[in-house]
């Protein structure tokens, strides 16, 4: 079983050249940074806020804040990591505004280890993505990840969807590396468990039995 390959991003030296040019007042260079990372910021923001308008606001606010504070960026981390940190904070503020009854922070929802221990260990269909139509699959994946607490969801999105390293995720969220690893493990296990309801082999009687394959080929 092979390790998951990280998403590949642009070379850092190129990024740094753009940042330095932007610091000197070159708006075209800053626009190139926007072009490079706007999709990532939008995805992260929508995963956290779960609201499209808020995510659009976060994209604008995060880049404007980055632009306004570019002189303070010390180049000790990647620009992208710094930008993600700004975007996560903006997104959490939006979430708090929408849910004033609950104080939302990355430190909450830390429950006992038992929460994530695998309870249901059923093997999945060989091609789980093909068990559902595209729209249904998106609905399942969206609903499932939205069910995670914000602290777990954010770590999973940065680490596994956006491909930040553990160290970058820790920097962006101002968490320790062990905290990132612990949340990532629990997020992965909780998602796995919840998706098992939809993807396990030979499910029947609940509309999830669209998998017409024989299901005999283990592995």
């Amino acid at each position: 079983m092979s390790a998951i390959q990280p998403n590949v991003r642009e070379p850092i030296s190129d990024e740094l050249a753009l940042v330095r040019a932007a610091k000197q007042g070159d708006d075209k260079a800053f626009e190139e940074l926007v072009r490079r990372y706007d999709r990532n910021v939008f995805r992260i923001a929508q995963h956290i806020t779960q609201n499209r308008e808020d995510a659009e606001d976060v994209v604008q606010d995060a880049f404007l804040k980055a632009y306004g504070n570019l002189a303070q960026f010390q180049e000790q981390s990647k620009f992208y990591t710094w930008l993600v940190r700004i975007a996560v904070n903006e997104a959490l503020m939006k979430l708090r505004r929408r849910r004033p009854e609950r104080m939302v922070s990355l430190d909450e929802d830390v429950k006992t280890e038992d929460d994530s221990l695998p309870r249901e260990v059923a093997d999945w269909s060989p091609n789980p993505e093909q068990m559902y139509k595209q729209g249904e699959l998106r609905e399942i994946l969206t609903r499932t990840i939205q069910g995670l607490p914000p602290g777990f969801r954010t770590v999973f999105v940065l680490r596994d969807v956006e491909g930040l390293s553990t160290e970058e995720t820790a920097q962006a969220l101002e968490l320790s590396i062990p905290a990132v690893k612990s949340r990532l493990l629990r997020a992965r296990l909780q998602l796995r468990e919840r998706l098992s309801r939809y993807f396990q082999k030979r499910v029947s009687g609940d509309g999830a039995s669209r998998d017409g394959t024989s299901g005999d080929d283990d592995q």
Binding site: I4, F42, Q60, L189
Partner: protein, 85 residues
């Protein structure tokens, strides 16, 4: 290796961050423990499905509008105020 020890190392294993010895112990465990094999395999699939899912993609027209708005506000930020020299 016990199942609980396997679980503790699962994230490092999937991320390719284990030393050779621990990796080999873990793979020995996976060879005979079907439950852990399934948990490992389906967790890996979970990550791959989300990574490939393209949830929340930014449509190109909206993307263009957002970028224009950002750059326009940036140039406003930069303009010196009326009292500046």
């Amino acid at each position: 290796m016990k199942c609980s020890e396997f679980l503790n190392e699962l994230t490092n294993y999937l991320d390719g961050a284990l030393d050779d010895r621990t990796k080999s112990e873990l793979e020995d465990h996976l060879a005979w423990c079907h439950n852990c094999y399934v948990v490992c395999d389906t967790t890996r699939k979970t990550i791959e499905i989300y990574r490939n899912s393209e949830l929340y993609e930014l449509p190109e027209d909206l993307r263009g509008r957002l970028r224009s708005a950002i750059m326009s506000k940036c140039s406003h930020q930069k303009k010196p105020g009326p009292q500046s020299v």
